[in-house]
Symmetry: C2
Subunit: 209 residues, 2 copies
DNA sequence: TAGATTGTTAATCGATTAACAATC
DNA sequence: TAGATTGTTAATCGATTAACAATC
């Protein structure tokens, strides 16, 4: 099911933004917001916000707007942030380091339960908070623990091999940072972070300044 | 000029992919490719590829296709990868570490000439290859060196301050990893890397598996 | 009740795909 | 020349915006 939900991917990618702003409002103690106010905050049009939300249900109330807390919680549920996931990282370099230690992910329910590398004893790659295991133990580890998400922060040369190990042992979600188009079966969800795509796009826009 | 070029942003974001595949073909010694073959490789339709390319010029030849080398070079020019940029990184944590040491960026002409942090002597944040400077020296450094791009890998709390320092001293391109919507003047290009947006989207798709 | 704001349908806009004449 | 494949126009599809009746 490679992304064939009813709701379009462009809508889905806006949800985390709504969720983030609602979280900030909640912290500020604001408990009510209209689509128009949310529009000013997020930069999306009020019409678009209402359309987006109504893909999932009528969370608002005419004449009033939306309850910040309710909408925040609903979006959390929709995004699956109310569950908690077990996550492994393969590739304990700088990027693996960064991802495995990023507080925001842990707080959102993504628990890094294992970090793997081809060279776990490389002092350059010493993870501070987490033991780095040898990649040879990866498959056993996945089988013995319920792993929901596999992150790939390896060199691109071994990224497909790691993917295959993930898939073979039942991981259903892969978050890939390697600059390569990985091949996965239809029932595995692949999400790519394309850093050079982003940097090169920036380059395009500044090249004539 | 916040992204108001003639060519749509969705087209621009595909260019780095074309560029990457053409680079691979070039390395393999393949010197000719049709839009149809490129379609199979990239997953974009042949029609879309031809449309995209023709925004910038007629690089192909009827009955033949495209010269891999020529198209690769043209795309490099379009993306501004033929120039070389001076880049500073602020925030020498894990992520700054990763970005500053990523070989792919240096190879594409992005030269990290300075890394800054609030706490440059923090042993946790010791950069291996580059001296980390104190953030108090950032503005002088930008003025004294021609800096094209400023990267932000700081905590979100100081990201806007760093942005303001960048902007005040003439930096025209900002690559932001902090989870915050930065405010920049119209003549500064801001490109965001939204890691949690990406992870939460993955979460959405696997939550019911 | 009157005012406000949603949910939702219709209109518009933009992006993708299809088709084919031009031409190498 | 015949075959192949581009460049480009037209048709389709999907996403965004506008509008407004429903209703709190």
């Amino acid at each position: 099911m490679n992304r064939e939900s009813q709701v379009s991917i462009t809508v889905i990618r806006r949800l985390p933004n709504y969720h983030r702003y609602l979280g900030e409002l909640l912290q500020k103690g604001i408990n009510r917001i209209s689509s128009q106010e949310l529009s000013k905050l997020t930069g999306f049009t009020a019409s678009q916000i209402r359309q987006d939300l109504n893909n999932f249900g009528g969370f608002g109330q005419q004449g009033y707007g939306y309850s910040v807390e309710e909408l925040y919680n609903e979006l959390g549920k929709i995004l699956g942030l109310d569950r908690g996931y077990n996550v492994v990282v393969t590739g304990a370099g700088n990027l693996g380091h960064a991802v495995a230690n990023y507080r925001g992910f842990r707080d959102a329910g993504f628990n890094i339960i294992g970090v793997f590398d081809r060279n776990p004893n490389n002092p350059r790659f010493a993870m501070r908070n987490l033991e780095v295991r040898h990649i040879d133990g990866l498959e056993d580890f996945i089988r013995e623990n319920k792993v929901d998400i596999g992150i790939i922060t390896t060199a691109k040369e071994i990224a497909q091999d790691v993917t295959d190990m993930y898939v073979r042992n039942g991981i259903k979600g892969i978050w890939n940072f390697a600059t390569i188009d990985l091949v996965v079966p239809d029932d595995v969800v692949l999400e790519n972070v394309r850093l050079s795509e982003s940097l090169f796009t920036l380059s395009y826009f500044i090249k004539d300044l």
